[in-house]
Structure formats: structure tokens, C-alpha cells
Amino acid sequence: MVNIIKRINLLSLLFFISFTFAKETEAPSQDLKSEIRAYIKHHLEDTYDFNLLSYTAQDGHKVHIGMPLPVILWDEGLTIFSSSKLHHGETVAQVGDRYYKLDHGKIYRTDAAGTIDYDENHHATNIAPLDFSITKNVFTIIVTALLMFFLFKGLAQSYANNGMIAKGVGRFFEPIILHIRDEIAIPNIGEKHYKKYMSYLLTLFFFIWFLNILGLTPLGINVTGNIAITFSLAFLTFLITNFTAKKDYWMHIFWMPGVPKIMRLALAPIELLGVIIKPFSLMIRLYANISAGHIVLMSLIGLIFIFKNWFGSTLSFGLAFAISIIEILVALLQAYIFTVLSALYFGFAVEEHEHEEAH
């Protein structure tokens, strides 16, 4: 804990130092712009170590502040080493008799010299081992999962210890849990079936919300703006929808009741496509919203350094501040929308039509 506080202090200190440096060094504007662009692009990607801050020291040597995370590769056998060996892609990591190098955010097997061959599309042709590394995003997910587990376990226990009344921070979360039950699950799924989806919906909502909020902290985390994360969440919604679907749901997809026979044939592929499109839209919506938020926010912060005059920088700061506040709202809103739509799709899956032919 003390370590983290120290690190944050260091971070803010270094931030101010780098801020003053930016003012003093007269770098060409074009260079700064591309640097900021590269920085934003880098920020949106997942990394192998938990990097808090990188800057170029006066001797031109790049300094990275953060902590290394374990790299786990399946390369004809399990290979585990610390990400500090990769040196942010600057050097080749030697593990046993194999060599690995980081190139454009991916780990490739190379020779001792670290040569990476590219094809005509500028894709690396080196062997990319199966990568199960505990990356920055995985690490953040684990931390969030632990936080959620202890938070809600604490809430559950506080009921037992306090006569069915929530205590402490649980008092804040209990109305949200009730809201998800009463305003999201029950109206969309129905009184009869909502219970079996509650665990998923609650976990989903808080997971996305917490990660969205964590993405707004200066730790530089972008988990929910990562396509693999949103894909896995949408994939789970897709699986749950289709595996818990009742007969009526499939009936409405393949043989729509109440329309002429020829229309039924035409509707079936459209409806089937809808089954895929629904979770796909979930995936893209969350990804795009969070990524866009991060890009806009970081661009505005970058503008402060590009303008370098009191008017433009102040304006950029004001805008960045306003967008930050909006992003806090978006963080909640996107978690809410993902949960509501998931609940809605579950509702379609278990919907029961009493008058089948009356449509």
C-alpha cells in the first residue's frame, strides 16, 4: 500500500517535471504531434508490463516507470519469464535457448540477434507463440475481480452481522443491485425467469462499470476499450442467450408464426443474422465508446502541450476537464446499456407466447 502511494507521488512529481520540460524544450511541432499520436495508440493497446510512465532522460535514454508482469508463452512447452526481460521491445529476451522479441505489441520468436522478417504487407513472419501472458489488462482484470469479490462478499456478510441491513460501502451498492433487479432484470426478462440471469447481469454491470472507471484514472488502463474483452463479454451474452433459449425463441427465428409461408423462408436468414448481430453490436458499442472516450480525452490533454500558450492550453484543459466528467457518465452509461441489452436478449430467449398464432 505504502509502495503504491509512493509510486503515485512519484508519478505526479514526474508529471510536473515532464510538464516543465515540455515547456522548455523547443521540439518541432510536427514531431510532438506524431509523438502524441503514437502515445495514444500505445495507450489503447495492451502491454506486457504495468507501465505508469515513460520519458526520455536527458542523456536520450528512455526511462520506464512501472512494474514487470509475468509473460506466459506456450511455445512447444510452457515458457514463463518476467516482462522486464523484454525491455519494451528494445532488446531480445533470452529464455533458455530461445529468443523472444516484442514487435508492435506482439511477442515473436527470433534468433539471438532479434531479427524480425516482414512480408510485403509489413506483417512479421516470425513464429508467434501462443501467448497467455498476464498482461496489464489481465492484471487489471484480476485486481478488479478481487475487488468485486471482497466488496460484495463483505456486503453479503454485513447483512448477517447487522440484522439484514447493509453496512459501510455496501449501502452505496445495495440500491444499485436492487435497481438492476427491479428495473433491468424483472422488466426485461420477466418475473418467472429473471433469477437465473441475476448473477451474470450483476457481475457484468459492476465489472464493466469498475473497469470503465479504472480506465479514467491516471493509471493508463484501457481494458473495456479492448476488443478481446468486449468480445468475450458479448460472447458470454451470446452463449447464455442461445443456451437458455426456449422453443418459442427458435420458432421465431426459423419459422416465424403469423406471417405467410414464403415470408417465413425470407425471414429465417435475417433473424438468424440478428442472433449474431445483437451480441456483435454489444461488443462494438462498448469497445468504440470507451476507445473513443480515451482518444478524445488524451488528444485534448495532448493539445495542452501542442498549444503551449495560455489561451489554447487553458481551453484544452477546460475541454479535457469537461470530457472527463462526461466520461464518468459514459462509464456508467455503457455498463448500464450492456447490462440492459443483455437482459433484453435473455428476455427474448425465455419469452413465452401464450397465443402462438395470434401474432
Binding site: 501462443l130 489481465v138 482484470i141 448477517a160 439484514m164 448473477s199 457481475t203 465489472f207 468480445f231
Partner: protein, 166 residues
């Protein structure tokens, strides 16, 4: 789209799926189920308590109504009793008065009768005495007539004058 696919990291997907599913299951067991159960239980108990309170209030109202009715009845009964008692009292007084009158009348009649008897007896007695006196007078007259006729006549007259019958 190509960018999205190139950005996709299978390792991250794997970990996310693994951790998230694990989290759902763990939270279900240790958090969501106890929380939702408790909340449900609490809601049921609140609903029950409210129902019980409403019932109690209804019962109370019924009881109050009952009380009011009983009170009203009691008041009416008291009224009736009082009225009855008053009537009875008046009747009693009336009766007593009548009785007293009757008694008084009877006593008066008795007294009058006694007086009559007394009077009759007195008259009888007087008559007897008068007869006695008459006899005495007649005796004395007869004796004096034998001595002096004149004197006898004067005596009789004098005697008769004395005997004054009222």
C-alpha cells in the same frame, strides 16, 4: 475491421473469459445469492410487517367501533333505567300519598265513630241521671205535697228550673 482483428489477443480473451466466468460463479455463491436472498427476505418481512400493522389498525378500528357501540348502548340503557326509576319513584310517591290519605280518612272516620258512641253514651248517661233526678224530685214532691201543697208546687217549679236540659 482488420485493425480490430489484428488487435484481438487470444491470450487476453482466454484470461478474460476464465476470470469473468470464475468471478460470476464465485460471486454467485458468496455474494449475489446471499445478498438477493437477504433482500428478498427483508422485503417479505417488511411486507408482512406492513400487512400486520394494517390488520392491527383494522382490528383497532373495529374494536373502537365496538367500544363506541357498547358505550352508546350503555348510555341508552342508563337513560332507560333512569327514566324507569323516575317513573317508579313517582308512582311510589303517588301510592304512598294515596295510602296515607286513605289511612288518614280511615282514622278520621274511626275517630268520628268513637265520638258518636261517646256522645250517645253520654246522652244515655244523662238521660239516666235525669230520670234519677226526676225520680228523686218526684219523690221529694210527693213527700212535700203531703205537707204543703203550695210549697210543693213551688219546689217542683224551682227544681224544674234547676234542671236545665240542653
Amino acid at each position: 475491421m482488420e485493425k480490430l482483428i489484428s488487435e484481438f489477443s487470444f491470450g487476453l480473451f482466454f484470461w478474460q473469459l476464465f476470470i469473468f466466468v470464475g468471478l460470476v460463479l464465485l460471486l454467485k455463491k458468496y455474494a449475489w445469492k446471499p445478498i438477493l436472498d437477504t433482500v428478498n427476505e427483508r422485503e417479505t418481512s417488511i411486507k408482512d410487517a406492513l400487512g400486520a400493522a394494517a390488520d392491527a389498525r383494522k382490528e383497532m378500528e373495529a374494536l373502537q367501533e365496538d367500544n363506541q357501540r357498547i358505550l352508546k348502548e350503555a348510555r341508552a340503557e342508563r337513560e332507560a333505567l333512569l327514566k324507569d326509576a323516575r317513573a317508579t319513584g313517582a308512582q311510589l310517591v303517588e301510592q304512598a300519598k294515596a295510602d296515607a290519605q286513605k289511612e288518614a280518612d280511615r282514622i278520621l272516620t274511626q275517630a268520628q265513630a268513637a265520638l258518636e258512641t261517646e256522645k250517645a253514651a253520654a246522652i244515655e248517661d244523662l238521660k239516666r241521671q235525669v230520670a234519677g233526678f226526676s225520680l228523686e224530685i218526684a219523690e221529694k214532691v210527693l213527700q212535700s205535697e203531703l205537707e204543703d201543697h203550695k210549697k210543693q208546687t213551688a219546689l217542683v217549679e224551682k227544681l224544674l228550673k234547676d234542671v236545665n236540659i240542653k
